[in-house]
């Protein structure tokens, strides 16, 4: 089918205005949250209902056309980029289909914005626990596809731990139900396989997610350190002491200063080398005992001061600074690489030192703002992507940082996914056999490899792909 004919066939399903075919209109869909890549889709289509979405996927299946699902496009690994293929926009499927407050479950369409779900269930004293910093924009479908995390995932777990069931349309148009909210079933954990599959296993039509009770008591603390090292050691000490804060985030001086210079100024001390933003939650009874323990560990570990938010307003302000830190950094330069890697928590001090050295060697300023309690680093680098020399230095530094994290026994991504950006790192952490096993798993869901082609696992790793194409 020609480009025009496909556009017309899609328009027949969803209406003219829901289909973009002209390059000028498609420009905005050539990037996601990650700078440095531009891949323009050939067509973008935005179904408004589940029924339209199903018809669109089936049309694409009949025509053998590759497609890329896209939620809000806030992804940070280039996962939602479509290179000439069809971009399938899911951001108009925004209904919360049902809430079962007693059983703490909600069924949502894929385009529901993360924070909208929490708002919708607030009247029941519930919330949706995974809270990526992008929660005001990103979609549940995108969260499911990336297995997104967030500050409060330290205590409450990541997206995977909150998805109970999914309805998925497979790339060939078949609709399958994975998991069940009505009791446990025997069989393979296909929900677990789909979560984090980065759009390569099909399109989530709806998700049944677990809701979490709002805690009775919350305490938010800010500890201020004169060295990164001390903040890192305090983090390791808190984890080792067996305290499970709801969140334990670190921000370094560069981040603090960017935040304080922005409209999100949170009152962080700008002369601190690093701060830890910590939250304890749970029952009112006994919570202040744990607050005291946390405070003592920080002070013993060299904190200059530990501030405890006095009221909801102060708490919100402290969090707003953290959640908008990427945005604040984005203001200080034209581009920002947001990096994502994980290391064992006991290795934080040494790896942070290494990262600082790598940045210095490449004459770059690295801003760290990250989920310290999980060992999930985000070393970010503000730069100018139009300066080839600076870009080259950024790329070298990123590679060196990734190597340091892998060498420390870590992973190249804790929550942002592999997408396009990290695909070359995959052979560094997985053997050819393991990569091939991933290809085999993908082939079960999408034997034709039409869903989000070219992402996550390098094509050359897939043996069947190179040796025996189209035998099934």
């Amino acid at each position: 089918m020609s480009h025009d004919a496909l556009g017309a066939a899609l328009a027949a399903i969803v209406g003219e205005r829901q289909v973009l075919v002209r390059p000028s209109e498609l420009l905005v869909y050539a990037t996601d949250g990650l700078p440095g890549y531009r891949k323009q889709p050939g067509i973008a289509v935005f179904p408004r209902t589940r029924d339209e979405l199903v018809q669109v996927v089936r049309l694409l299946a009949r025509e053998g056309v590759p497609f890329v699902p896209r939620g809000a496009g806030t992804g940070l690994s280039g996962g939602a980029l479509a290179d000439g293929s069809v971009l399938l926009g899911l951001n108009r499927l925004t209904r919360v289909l049902s809430v079962d407050a007693e059983n703490r479950l909600a069924v949502v369409e894929p385009g529901v914005v993360n924070v909208h779900l929490t708002r919708a269930v607030a009247p029941y004293g519930l919330h949706y626990a995974p809270d990526p910093s992008s929660q005001a924009a990103c979609t549940i479908g995108g969260n499911v596809a990336e297995n997104a995390g967030g500050p409060h995932c330290l205590k409450y777990g990541v997206t995977l731990n909150h998805v109970v069931a999914l309805t998925v349309i497979l790339p060939d148009g078949d609709i399958v139900t994975l998991g069940s909210a009505d009791g446990e079933r025997d069989g393979y954990d296909l929900v677990g396989c789909f979560v984090g599959s980065e759009g390569c296993f099909g399109v989530a039509l709806d998700a049944t997610v677990r809701l979490t009770r709002n805690p009775q008591a919350v305490r938010t603390l800010l500890a201020d350190f004169t060295s990164m090292d001390a903040a890192a050691r305090a983090t390791s000490a808190i984890i080792a002491a067996g305290i499970v804060p709801a969140a334990l985030e670190m921000m370094d001086q560069a981040t603090i200063r960017a935040v304080e210079a922005s409209i999100y100024a949170a009152g962080y001390p700008t002369d601190a080398a690093a701060v830890l933003l910590m939250e304890l939650d749970g029952l009112e009874a006994g919570i202040d005992v744990d607050v005291e323990k946390l405070r003592t560990i920080c002070l013993d570990g060299g904190a200059r001061a530990v501030r405890i938010a006095r009221d909801e307003g102060e708490r919100t302000r402290l969090w707003q600074g953290r959640k908008k830190a990427f945005g604040a950094m984005g203001r200080i330069s034209s581009h920002l690489v947001v990096q994502d890697a994980v290391i064992p928590r006991t290795r934080l001090p040494e790896v942070l030192r290494l990262i600082a050295q790598i940045g210095a060697a490449e004459r770059l300023s690295v801003c760290n703002v990250f989920h310290a309690g999980d060992g999930n680093l985000h070393p970010n680098i503000p730069y100018n992507a139009n300066d080839p020399d600076e870009s080259a230095r950024v790329h070298r530094a990123m590679r060196a940082i990734m190597r340091a994290c892998v060498d420390a026994g870590g992973s190249v991504t804790g929550e942002h996914g592999i997408g396009l950006d990290k695909i070359d790192y995959m052979p560094r952490i997985f053997s050819p056999e393991s990569l091939d096993a991933m290809c085999r798993l993908r082939a079960v869901f999408d034997p034709a490899r039409r869903a989000n082609p070219g992402k996550v696992v390098p094509v050359r790793s897939c043996r069947e792909w190179t040796q025996a194409p189209a035998t099934r």
């Binding site: 479950l105 731990n161 399958v176 393979y188 954990d189 677990g192 396989c193 984890i239 592999i418």
Partner: protein, 403 residues
């Protein structure tokens, strides 16, 4: 294919008289490379393998081919990496839960998996069967605690999924794929798991539960909504209590945890909900040992709000079975029913009856009862099986249908 009579483990030794010489007695690989060799050879010759950890719960009574050769992975044993500060632990598949408990206890930590049965159960089997107990609702199912796995697939290929860190989204999820697959996609050789800190203080309370369904439902709801942070909340029946010298009605065992001040406040709250008294922590060990030898066990589950109804329906359906025991994880919505071996002929009709109320999952059943439960036959499950065990030699007869 010859089938065993469903009486289970004793049938499973070597590959039987028809098997090639190398497969006539159990295989005992010492490391991953040995496992890979064994599976590769078995695949080449089409010899089915029965993977064995400690062997407590091999086929759950399912109709499995008796011709399978035992692949005993218990020698892949030992903790290979444990850094308490990271709260992660890596161990061979044959490592027992007791060994892990001992190593981690010294640091005030634990792997909070408390499945029914002895703690001589192996880590590999516990993950392969997704086994867990009352702690799972608060502290995580096996899928939530497994961080990384090494396994040998049905062609003898060594595969690693996940990693050793607590957060990781690199690549498609081979860990979730293998956890709960009952060894039909691969032989687990090593696993990395997430540990948790043991609670600073704990207290187990038994709260008497009313007999009438509506009132019970209200109590369970009140417990789920109460200002409590228990690490286990388990409804147990009077038969279980009586068996433990604890006469009285059905009761909810609540395992309160937190710091001392928090536990004291929670205890007062539980006491305000009805007649409650403290039990020693060993009550949980007794619950894990509630399955007598040869007993049959099913899990009946639905949404948590349905637990009281299920509890009642199961009591009615088992009223005539002497010694039947029920216990339920109220937060997970799972009722576990244990039927003594003597009642084996009623299990199949019982399972059929229960399946009309809710989701029924067999743990250990007589063969006829397995046939009353639906096999896993959906397209994706079949595809996964074919992709990871194309010759269908790994644990044939378990989970996925035989070829």
């Amino acid at each position: 294919m010859r089938e065993s009579d469903g009486s289970g483990d004793k049938m499973l030794s070597g590959g039987g008289p028809g098997a090639p010489a190398a497969f006539r007695s159990p295989l005992r690989p010492r490391d991953t490379a040995d496992v890979a060799d064994a599976v590769r050879d078995a695949a080449a010759l089409g010899v089915p393998l029965r993977i064995r950890g400690a062997g407590h719960w091999l086929d759950a009574g399912r109709p499995v081919p008796a011709s399978a050769c035992v692949l005993d992975v218990s020698a892949l044993r030992g903790i290979t990496e444990y850094n308490p500060g990271d709260l992660t632990l890596t161990a061979g598949a044959g490592t027992t839960l007791a060994e892990i408990d001992e190593a981690t206890r010294a640091n005030g930590q634990w792997l909070p998996l408390d499945p029914a049965g002895a703690t001589t159960a192996t880590l590999g089997a516990t993950l392969a069967t997704a086994s867990c107990g009352p702690l799972a609702s608060a502290l995580g199912l096996p899928r939530d605690l497994a961080l990384g796995l090494e396994f040998v697939d049905g062609r003898g290929i060594v595969v690693r999924g996940g990693g050793r860190v607590v957060k990781n989204v690199a690549g498609f999820d081979l860990v979730r794929l293998t956890v709960g697959a009952w060894g039909t996609l691969g032989v687990i050789t090593e696993a990395t798991v997430r540990l948790r800190a043991r609670p600073e203080a704990e207290c187990t309370m038994a709260l008497d539960a009313p007999r009438e369904t509506g009132t019970l439902a209200l109590l369970l709801r009140a417990l789920r909504e109460a200002p409590l942070t228990p690490i286990a909340t388990e409804l147990v029946d009077a038969t279980f209590r009586a068996g433990n010298g604890d006469r009285g009605s059905d009761a909810v065992l609540v395992r309160l945890a937190g710091n001392a001040a928090s536990v004291a406040a929670q205890r007062r709250h539980v006491e305000s909900l009805g007649t409650a008294r403290e039990l020693p922590a060993s009550a949980w060990d007794r619950l894990a040992a509630a399955d007598p030898d040869g007993a049959f066990t099913v899990r009946i589950s639905h949404r948590p709000s349905r637990v009281a109804d299920l509890w009642h329906a199961i009591a009615t359906a088992t009223a005539e079975i002497e010694g039947a025991v029920r216990h339920a994880s109220i937060e997970r919505g799972v009722v576990r029913l244990i039927v003594p071996a003597t009642a084996h002929e009623v299990v199949a009709p019982l399972v059929r009856c229960l399946a009309s109320h809710a989701s029924v999952l067999g743990e250990r059943l007589p063969r006829a009862a397995w046939e009353a439960l639906p096999a896993v036959t959906d397209r994706l499950s079949r595809g996964v099986r074919a992709a990871f065990d194309p010759h269908q030699i790994l644990n044939p007869g378990l989970l996925a249908p035989m070829a």
